[in-house]
Amino acid sequence: MTRFRIFRRKGSGTRTVLGVVGLIVLLCIWQACVQFHVVPPGLLPAPTELWPAWRSEVAGGYWQHAVCDSLEHYSTGLVIGSVLGALAGLGCGAVPLADALTAGIVRFLRPIPGLAWVPFAILWFGLNTAGATFVIAISVFWINFYAAYGAVKSVDPELYEVAAAFGHSGFIARMRYVIIPASSPGLLAGLRTGLGQGWMSVVAAELFGVPGIGARMMQASSLLATDIVVVYMITMAGLYALTDFLFSFVRARLLRWQG
């Protein structure tokens, strides 16, 4: 199986180095394509143009503003959507009556993407923070709803008996002693997926003019300033990587019992 070096499993250090190498190769090919006019000029900015573009965005104060505005939409939308989604999922998973009553509603609303709610967000909240937050919250809501619901359904039913045998019966006690801790891996997996989905929704929520990274990208692209568009694409990727990195510490701490 391991006759060829390239098929051998790589250690984590080697993997990191190889990942950086891959990135550099991509940047070189990209630069070459622009430099030697493989792609028509104006369609794609060269990597070397990105740094000055970023500097000018920062100098004008646009970058800081856009990042702050988007972070505000992202974090409020994420918190509201995650908390409500996880609570609704826990409730529907744990209470058969709630489960049965909402089954139809869930099937009806689930396939509607967050983007489709934008007209209503504008109507109900206006082109402002609340509207953008609403769109982000909705897309994050469903991810957490399904994660929590599935996690509750897969709780080992024998643990309910253990809790009852030691005096913890009734809905509140089951929630506290069994359901919430037993579903925590699923809940955290949902939160993590939501962290990524939230950034994707930020663009959708801001495309229509609510100030932020998405709005700034739209402005730039209408002026064909592709270098600025790419600057914000990279900004968003960086912010996502940062939130996911920070979350991985919380997750490792909370789930240390899983080893």
Partner: protein, 260 residues
């Protein structure tokens, strides 16, 4: 001797009486007694245990638990499961403290009580481990400590050593006897292992049939016991006969033997 718990003509049916798990079960446990319920797998021993513990209500007859002064910080009953059933997100100490929570004890009191129980089962060195880091025998010890720490009047054990290897099982059996002699808890111990019942119990209640009923109620002689002795072999043979449903000497379904 005072009766701690009494089952009067207890029965449990499924589907509104269409089929019975067990029926006409009469059983009295005296305080301080070690009673084994012996029967083949699937006969309903574990279900009977849950009825005694009042996790399941009987559909016929009564389960009467003697009124007792409710000691603060105690529970009437505690259960040791066959497969330990620890909560994987709680470390050893917090698993033991499970039954102490909700009893109005301070954090400090719970800590001391859990420590005591863990010392009794010989696990003082691993109190901060996660269940996944324990061996099968250690997990089962945590299960025993978790039950002992609530200071129950009645300790119920559901084939607690059934899933362990023979060496670990023998060790835990003798430790259990030591703990029982030190604490004098009333124990109801479910097993399908005749030798285990003979080794541990004061009294063996044989449960068999479908629906299950008490086929025999035998008092075992003084400890220490040698399961290979002639008297024990004779008793084992008698229990096998009772389980397989061969006609009883007296023809009665329920009978109490003399001491041997």
């Amino acid at each position: 001797m005072t009766a701690l718990i009494r089952l009067e003509d207890a029965g449990l049916s499924h589907n509104n009486g269409a089929s019975f798990v067990f029926r006409h079960v009469n059983l009295t446990l005296e305080a301080g007694e070690f009673v084994a319920v012996l029967g083949p797998s699937g006969v309903g021993k574990s279900t009977l245990l849950r009825v005694v513990m009042r996790l399941i209500a009987p559909t016929e007859g009564r389960v009467i638990l003697a009124p007792a002064p409710d000691l603060a910080g105690s529970r009437r009953t505690a259960l040791v499961f066959q497969d330990a059933r620890l909560m994987p997100w709680r470390n050893v100490r917090h698993n033991v403290e499970l039954g102490l929570e909700g009893l109005g004890l301070s954090r400090q009191e719970r800590y001391v009580r859990a420590d005591e129980a863990l010392r009794l089962v010989g696990l003082s060195a691993v109190t901060d481990r996660w269940p996944r880091q324990l061996s099968g025998g250690q997990r089962q010890r945590v299960g025993v400590a978790r039950a002992l720490t609530v200071n129950p009047d009645l300790l119920l054990m559901d084939e607690p050593f059934g899933a362990l290897d023979a060496i670990t099982r023998a060790g835990l059996q003798s430790e259990l006897l030591g703990i029982w002699e030190a604490t004098k808890k009333t124990v109801l111990f479910v097993t399908h292992d005749i030798d285990e019942a003979l080794l541990l119990a004061d009294r063996i209640v044989v449960l068999a049939g479908c629906p299950a009923s008490v086929r025999g109620d035998l008092i075992v002689g003084p400890r220490p016991r040698d399961p290979s002795s002639a008297a024990m072999r004779a008793l084992a043979g008698r229990m096998r006969a009772l389980i397989s449903g061969e006609p009883d000497p007296g023809g009665a379904v329920y009978w109490q033997s003399a001491e041997i």
